[in-house]
């Protein structure tokens, strides 16, 4: 035999009960279990003696154990032993054997009155050591009768690898409960059988009563036992049937057949059961058996005996089986509570029953669903402890609380609401106490007159235990389902987040998920505006909007309400940063009332949204039917971070999209080509619209985005430089370079200036390369043109200075003295300044009209003031002069005018000046012909020195032809100067053109 490897020194070395919760458990097979129980019930009904054997066989089968058995304690004190009443499996042969009362696994179970799992129990209990096959694991549950453990139901694994699980423990406990009832039935039946066999002895012993019922006279006569059984006064001629009918318990009509109101056929067997009140509080069940006489069928002879014990046991079994069947398929705790209450009430023929969870921490009593018919008030909902009045304290004392009749609870403290109504009735309520703490209670109530019998209290206790077990099982299942629901909810939120555009839309979905999982009616979510210390950006769920009908314009449908002061119950969530449940919001210390139009609030639950340890908002959920439980808070708190995460993701995603959009708008609006390349692959990641204009080809031409595509339009001699620079950027340097491209659309060569720079990642590595390129062809041309302009300006300025020098020389040579020089030179310099002033005001390509030049000069000389009768100017306006001709022409006009003022037409009275001009065409070239004619002038003698030094004449006759290719004539007529100038006025408009081309001027 393979004995245990080592001895165990203490119980803890062999007890591994906690393992049950850690091991993976198989799913319950309710079908098989239900069938097994029916089978057992049937065996019990027909062959009660075999029911315990069938029970252990069932345990063996349902748990897959190697052996199973039922052990009962026999005897007292040190001599007590456990006898193996029934066994199955490998150890079947040992039925009838015993184990020590104390030093055994059974002893331990009975002592502790709890389920135990032992591993290699032989290490501790010598009696187990020699068992063959060896006992590896041993799962035992207490076997109770009348609530007291009197034995164990056990299963054994012999194979080293085989293990028991939580499910095995549950099955075994269920069977033990059945066994307890079955055992009592067997005991009772055994007793009954014995009494039947010993009828005569029993008759003599006063246990069975004989009677004779004369249906004609309506009287029943019986012996002394009969008289005691019915508690009747002595009588010689019997008692009227009405006496019996009145003693039958009225509240049991459904189990009391109308024995006293039916016709009996001759020879017919008479059999029935009756419940009667009596000396004992629970009354008695009495069985009638008899037969009508053949000749006188109105006479029935029979016996009666007390079947109270049997009846009660059967009753209890029926109820437990019924309850098992009803609760098994239920998973919802509320449904389980409701069904247990309904079955219990029906069985006890009462109109009210309830099961209440008692939460000592939250100081809440919660009835999720109860049974209340007729006048009974429902207890559904959460109730603060205070509301229960004296009931709670009474329940804490452990024994069942009974009111009605003479029994009553103290009147203080007063109960409230439906509890007050409950305590006014006849109540039977049993506490469920686990580890010394009151955790639940189950009660039945009826009209005040009803009195509760002990077996009814026992039934309530049974049902309460069974309901609690089912609830725990369901809640374990519910916890798993809830976890799944949370996971599914989170899943849904993130899945929906992909499809939604706006935060608002996503918020609504998040709220819907939270509502679904917590069974809330509506909800909201808000964000704290820290600057204003207000709750802002409220999202209200779709269901919430349906219920809001508020007059406040801040609650326009679909518009996020803002600006809520942080106070009230929701404010508490934000300030404390902890989730809270307010199942009685109207009496909450932080209550501030509801605004008008706000839907009624029965229950509220709030959870904070916490980011980086800071409360940034909250979710509020409302009106779960029956109020919120700690489990709901757990769920909401598990969901909150996921919701926050999803919303933050969405916000970041939207911000990114906006920033991308902005970048794209910026890129597309820019006239510069903006591009981004991956630094590793050098592939193009972004290319702005301007590329198409600058390169003259669609962006799609660079679809592949390779560097080769990029350099293709560049002039071959520039490509090497461009690539070398790109390598530099890749190494982290910024470069600016210019290169030429051949523009695809028109084949033009264009200059491009490109600034390229590295874009670094978080580690400072070059991740991308950015580039900004512009077409600088025009810029370059402008720069070139500017250079030309500057050079031209130099040239002109220096020329002008040279002219001034020449003018000074000439004036000096022809001046009489210094004052004469000063006057003349200043005049000429002023003329030069005027014409240069005109020129400088010209825009590029502009022209000075001849009439303007003439007017400016004559006006400057004062020749037009009040002399309109003596000075005639006539000719077309706007004849444009080439700017290169203007200066010398102006000087010539100045000299003519000065001479006319000093010596000519305007020097004395009577003289006249006419200046006429016209536009002429000669050989298709436009010519300006100007005639200057003075009349009425007293002319000097011919041959005299020219007046005024002859400078004007020189300019007309020599300078204009030399410099302007003009043809001129200057004549001293008999009464004044006559001068004609033919001047080309067309040609190219460019600055450095327009010089004359007459043959050189020679002396």
């Amino acid at each position: 035999m393979s004995g245990p490897a080592q001895q165990a020194s203490s119980v803890d070395d062999v007890l591994i009960t906690a393992e049950l919760d850690r091991r993976p458990s198989r799913a319950p097979d309710f079908q098989a279990e239900s069938e097994a129980l029916r089978d057992l019930a049937e065996v019990m009904a027909n062959r009660p003696g075999q029911v315990l054997q069938r029970l252990v066989e069932t345990a063996l089968r349902l748990t897959g154990a190697g052996s199973a058995g039922l052990s009962l304690l026999e005897g007292d004190g040190p001599s007590a032993v456990f006898r193996w009443i029934a066994t199955a499996g490998a150890l079947a042969g040992r039925v009838g054997g015993t184990m020590p009362g104390d030093a055994s696994a059974c002893g331990l179970v009975v002592a502790r009155d709890e389920v135990l799992l032992l591993e290699d129990g032989g290490r501790l209990f010598p009696a187990l050591r020699d068992v063959v096959p060896p006992i590896r694991e041993n799962l035992l549950v207490p076997f109770r009768v009348g609530g007291r453990p009197i034995g164990t139901l056990w299963v054994v694994m012999h194979r080293p690898s085989a293990r028991f699980g939580r499910e095995d423990s549950r099955i075994l406990q269920n069977l033990a409960r059945f066994a307890s009832a079955a055992h009592q039935l067997v005991q009772t039946l055994a007793g009954t059988q014995r009494s039947e066999e010993l009828r005569r002895i029993a008759l003599e012993g006063g246990r069975m009563a004989a009677w004779r019922w004369d249906m004609r006279s309506g009287r029943i006569r019986g012996d002394a036992v009969f008289q005691v059984l019915w508690d009747l006064p002595p009588s010689n001629d019997g008692w009227p049937v009405s006496v019996f009918a009145s003693r039958a318990t009225l509240d049991a009509p459904h189990v009391t057949p109308p024995l006293f109101a039916r016709a009996i056929e001759p020879g017919e067997d008479f059999d029935g059961e009756l419940h009667v009140g009596g000396a004992t509080p629970s009354g008695r069940w009495i069985r009638w058996r008899g037969r009508a006489e053949q000749e006188r069928p109105w006479i029935i002879n029979g016996v009666s005996f007390d079947i109270t014990e049997q009846r009660l046991t059967e009753d209890r079994l029926t109820l437990l089986l019924q309850l098992s069947d009803a609760l098994r398929p239920l998973a919802d705790p509320a449904a389980i509570q409701g069904e247990a209450a309904r079955i219990l009430a029906r069985h006890l023929r009462s109109d009210q029953a309830f099961y209440a969870d008692i939460d000592g921490e939250a100081r809440l009593v919660t009835v999720e669903r109860d049974h209340a018919a007729g006048e009974a008030q429902s207890l559904e909902g959460p109730h603060p402890f205070g509301r229960l009045g004296p009931l709670l304290e009474a329940l804490r004392q452990d024994p069942p609380v009974v009111t009605g009749g003479s029994a009553a609870l103290p009147s203080a403290p007063p109960a409230d609401g439906p509890w007050q109504a409950l305590l006014a009735r006849s109540l039977a309520c049993v506490p469920i106490i686990k580890q010394g703490r009151l955790v639940a209670a189950m009660g039945v109530a009826d009209r005040p007159a009803r009195q509760w019998r002990p077996e009814e209290l026992a039934l309530i206790q049974d049902v309460a235990e069974r309901a609690r077990e089912a609830l725990e099982h369901a809640r374990t299942g519910e916890a798993v389902r809830r976890k799944n629901a949370v996971l599914e909810g989170i899943n849904r939120i993130f899945r929906e987040a992909l499809g939604t555009r706006s935060e608002e839309e996503l918020s609504e979905i998040c709220l819907e998920v939270a509502e679904d999982i917590t069974a809330s009616e509506f909800s909201f979510m808000g964000e704290v505006d820290f600057a204003a210390n207000r709750l802002d950006d409220l999202s209200v769920s779709a269901r919430g909007w349906q219920r809001f009908a508020m007059a406040d314009p801040r609650f326009a449908k679909g518009k996020a309400p803002i600006g809520f002061t942080i106070h009230g119950i929701y404010g508490r969530v934000l300030t404390d940063g902890r989730g809270l449940i307010a199942n009685d919001p109207a009496n909450h210390p932080d209550r501030i009332g509801l605004p008008e139009g706000h839907p009624p609030l029965h229950a509220f639950m709030g959870v904070p949204l916490i980011q980086d340890g800071r409360v940034i908002g909250m979710i509020g959920l409302a009106n779960r039917r029956g109020g919120y439980r700690p489990d709901d808070l757990e769920v909401a708190q598990a969901l909150a971070p996921a919701i926050l995460q999803a919303l933050c993701n969405k916000r970041a995603e939207n911000a990114l999209r906006e920033s991308e959009q902005r970048f794209k708008q910026f890129g597309d609006a820019s006239s510069d080509v903006i591009w981004i390349r991956n630094a590793r692959t050098l592939r193009l990641e972004y290319l702005s619209q301007a590329f198409e204009a600058v390169y003259g080809q669609p962006r799609s031409a660079l679809q592949a985005g390779t560097v080769r595509d990029w350099v293709r339009p560049m002039l071959a001699e520039d490509r090497g430089r461009v690539l070398a620079n790109l390598r530099q950027v890749r190494q982290g340097r910024q470069v600016t370079l210019e290169y030429r491209i051949r523009r695809r659309s028109d084949g033009q060569a264009r200059w491009v200036r490109s600034t390229q720079f590295p874009l670094l990642d978080e580690d400072g590595q070059v991740q991308r390369i950015g580039g900004i390129s512009e077409d600088i062809t025009e810029q370059k041309a402008t720069a070139d043109r500017l250079q030309v302009l500057v050079a031209e300006l130099q040239h002109r300025t220096r020329n002008l200075l040279a002219v001034v020098r020449s003018l000074a020389d000439k004036t000096l040579r022809r001046s009489a003295d210094l004052p004469d020089f000063q006057a003349r030179f200043q005049d000429r310099l002023a003329a030069l300044a005027r014409v240069n002033g005109l020129l400088s005001r010209l825009e590029d390509g502009g022209r000075i009209a001849f009439d303007e030049l003439l007017r400016v000069e004559l006006t400057a000389l004062g020749m037009l003031d009040g002399q309109s009768d003596r000075v005639v100017t006539e000719g077309p306006q706007g004849v444009g002069l080439r700017s290169s001709t203007v200066q010398i022409l102006a000087l010539a006009l100045h000299e003519l005018g000065t001479n006319a003022l000093k010596y000519g037409a305007l020097s004395g009275a009577g003289g006249q000046l006419e200046v006429r001009w016209r536009l002429e065409r000669q050989d298709d070239a436009p010519q300006l012909e100007v005639r200057w004619e003075e009349r009425g002038v007293a002319m000097p003698e011919p041959g005299a020195a020219p007046r005024g030094g002859g400078y004007g004449r020189e300019l007309i006759e020599r300078a204009l032809p030399y410099q302007l290719n003009a043809r001129t004539a200057y004549e001293l007529g008999p009464d004044g100067v006559r001068c004609t100038i033919m001047l080309p006025v067309s040609g190219t408009l460019l600055l450095p053109s327009g010089c004359g081309r007459k043959e050189g001027v020679h002396d």
Binding site: A791, Q794, R796, R798, A802, P992, G996
Partner: protein
């Protein structure tokens, strides 16, 4: 300053501004030179060069009515004619092959230019008599 003498020297003058051209003609003639021109257009300068086998020196305005004088300067350089450029431009706008040519920046006095022509001719004469010594840098300095 000593009297400038350019007696009998044939000096070509190209200048598009009448007053400057006339002053320069006057100054050169005063110094005894025979002035070829002055003419205001490149076309006319080129024609003059073609017409005259002997040109002793030339005073050229760089910009003649918008045309640069370089083709004429090239021709004259090839013929070994000493040149003098009158200009309002910066040195940078003078092409490299004429960078060594003496320049008179405007506004230079006509007499100064006549003197510069005389110096240019003397220097040339000196080079032709002896082994040409490198011209002292100061010779290259712009006048005025």
């Amino acid at each position: 300053m000593t009297e400038v003498t350019l007696a009998g020297r044939r000096v070509l003058v190209a200048e598009d501004e009448y007053m400057l051209a006339d002053d320069l003609r006057q100054a050169l003639e005063d110094a005894g030179a025979v002035v070829l021109g002055p003419v205001p257009l490149l076309r006319e300068v080129l024609a003059l060069i073609g017409e005259h086998a002997q040109i002793d020196a030339a005073v050229l305005d760089v910009n003649l009515c918008g045309e640069m004088v370089w083709p004429a300067a090239d021709l004259l350089s090839e013929r070994g004619v000493p040149l003098l450029l009158t200009t309002g431009y910066e040195r940078s706008s003078i092409p490299g092959r004429h960078a060594h040519v003496t320049r008179c920046e405007k506004p230079a006095a006509p007499m100064e230019i006549a003197r510069a022509v005389a110096r240019e001719l003397q220097a040339r004469a000196a080079t032709q008599l002896r082994t040409p010594p490198p011209a002292s840098p100061s010779d290259r300095q712009p006048i005025a």
